[in-house]
């Protein structure tokens, strides 16, 4: 079978396995909406806050479905010997990676779409001003977060430790990157850290695409930082990938 067909088969296989894992499916799909609904309703967010919250939650979703999910996947599959087993078959590595990463990307796309729909229907946030910008930032975010996740799996010794490692990155990053509130009020140190990491810039880009309608020209820095992290992530992934 051709590499394209094998990639597609791997993708479909990953989708099937994803839905058979209720807790992963829950964390992937329910958590962002829980956050959105809780913060929007319980704390009675106003218009201005919602305009921050919707792109923020969308950015967090991209991070969770790619960085977090792929870190877990690769640590688990390495520890279980699944990666090593696959390496011993004629399956081209590119087909395997394509299927696994494609599955994560599918989750990211579905979630961002759902958040935009929910934001529009329930919270009266406008439809995105620029779909091109939206897709661009989601795609770059996926590449950056996904490759960083696979590279991060390299340093995690075993699956039991994975949650601690992932949350040590995920939680601080979402709190300083402006998922829930504007980063303007943050202490300088945190601001400096957030500015050097990709999530804040993905969120800025999504904010421009969905809410403010700023052109791409105003978000060139954000674009450059996310693209830079994508290059770093891809380099680290290729350089340090471990099959066992």
């Amino acid at each position: 079978m051709s590499t394209a067909v094998l990639t597609w088969r791997q993708f479909r296989f990953e989708r099937k396995m994803f839905w058979r894992n209720p807790s992963a499916a829950f964390f992937n799909f329910t958590l962002p909406f829980l956050f959105l609904i809780m913060i929007a309703s319980v704390f009675g967010a106003d218009r201005k806050e919602l305009d921050i919250l919707i792109p923020g939650i969308a950015g967090m979703s991209v991070l969770g479905t790619t960085f977090t999910a792929l870190t877990y996947t690769f640590v688990f599959n390495r520890e279980q010997g699944i990666l090593k087993r696959i390496r011993g078959t004629p399956m081209p590595p590119i087909a395997y990676f394509g299927g696994v990463i494609g599955s994560a990307v599918a989750n990211a796309i579905v979630q961002v779409a759902l958040i935009i729909v929910i934001g529009h229907v329930f919270y009266d946030v406008s439809w995105p001003h620029s779909y091109f910008e939206l897709v661009l930032f989601v795609v770059l975010g996926v590449i950056a977060f996904g490759s960083l996740g696979i590279a991060f799996a390299h340093v995690i010794p075993n699956f039991d430790a994975a949650a601690a490692y992932v949350n040590a990155v995920f939680l601080p990053v979402i709190f300083i990157s402006g998922v829930f509130y504007s980063t303007k009020s943050l202490p300088l140190v945190f601001k400096a850290i957030a500015v050097s990491l990709p999530l804040k810039h993905v969120i800025d880009g999504l904010h421009g695409a969905i809410v403010s309608g700023q052109g791409l020209g105003d978000n060139l820095t954000a674009l450059a930082v996310v693209a830079g992290w994508a290059v770093v992530g891809l380099f680290l992934t290729v350089r340090y990938f471990r099959w066992d």
């Binding site: 296989f13 087993r85 011993g88 078959t89």
Partner: protein, 289 residues
């Protein structure tokens, strides 16, 4: 096409300071079951995983089905089935899904249900792989190695941890593969397994092959003949490299004394004795250190 499925010449592998494989040479003919027998840490997995293309060798020559496994050619992987010493699978996939999914990567896969039956997992096709017992998972490993209908199969400790009944069942499967004309390279630290399955065995110790041959002939070592007879009601045993001379002397002396050498026998130690002797030496050395 050459008669040899595998050729290994002066293979060496070092992990930092440790030289795990120290100049191993052997060859495996097509259609043969070749056993690498040795205690834990002897270097069996290292050797096999170099042949499978997983590890890089430090020195030496290796040819597998005409390929150098270090090149990681897809053509080679299409013709080889691998059972690793340990490896898992997506725990939420069913047995049939797993076998089908793996089969798709090969040019001429076997029928999934037939493959499942071949390894004795019939009736388990819809069971999730995470729910299989240890022995059943090992059979799934075998099914996944066989689904591509390979010419050459690597089995690294295929029955370690099995109860005796499961081991017999696995042996039957491996024998049936031999019946299909497959070439098999097997590693084990169970002597009876090597004896029961292999056409030829190499005993590996500390990264070296210390004896090699068909299980019945694994005795061509110095002092490998045992001569014994009854004298005054007790059994006398002697070991020798050359029984001709010893027998000549013994029988000559007996004739001079006018006695008969009751119960005279010349035998070679079994593979078991060779193996136990070799591994015992290792234990003694380990204790001496």
């Amino acid at each position: 096409m050459t008669e040899l499925a595998i050729e290994v010449n002066d293979l060496r592998k070092s992990y930092g300071e440790l030289e795990a494989v120290r100049g191993v040479s052997f060859s495996v003919r097509r259609g043969e079951v070749f056993g690498l027998l040795g205690p834990n840490g002897a270097g069996k997995t290292t050797t096999v995983e170099i042949l499978e293309g997983y590890r890089e060798r430090t020195a030496g020559e290796v040819v597998v089905l005409g390929y150098d496994p270090a090149d990681r050619d897809r053509g080679l992987r299409e013709r080889v089935g691998i059972v690793l010493q340990s490896s898992g699978f997506y725990p939420r996939a069913t047995v049939r899904e797993a076998v089908e999914h793996f089969g798709a990567a090969y040019p001429r896969p076997r029928d999934p249900d037939e493959t499942i039956a071949l390894v004795g997992l019939e009736g388990k096709g819809d069971t999730r792989t995470g729910q299989l017992s240890g022995g059943q998972q090992r059979r799934l490993d075998l099914a996944l190695a066989l689904v591509g209908d390979p010419d050459l199969i690597f089995l690294d400790e295929p029955t370690t941890g099995f109860d005796p009944a499961a081991r017999r069942a696995a042996w039957d499967v491996i024998r049936s593969l031999r019946g299909l004309g497959k070439t098999i390279l097997l590693t084990t630290h169970y002597l009876d397994e090597a004896q029961a399955l292999s056409d030829r065995v190499a005993i590996v110790k500390e990264g070296l092959i210390v004896a090699e041959g068909p299980p019945s002939e694994l005795t061509n070592r110095p002092r490998s003949y045992r001569v014994s007879y009854q004298q005054n009601g007790t059994r006398v045993e002697m070991e020798t490299e050359d029984p001709t001379e010893l027998l000549h002397r013994l029988t000559g002396e007996a004739l001079q004394r006018g006695e008969r050498l009751e119960g005279l026998s010349v035998s070679r130690p079994t593979l078991e004795e060779v193996y136990l002797e070799l591994t015992a030496e290792q234990h003694e050395e380990a204790e001496a250190e």
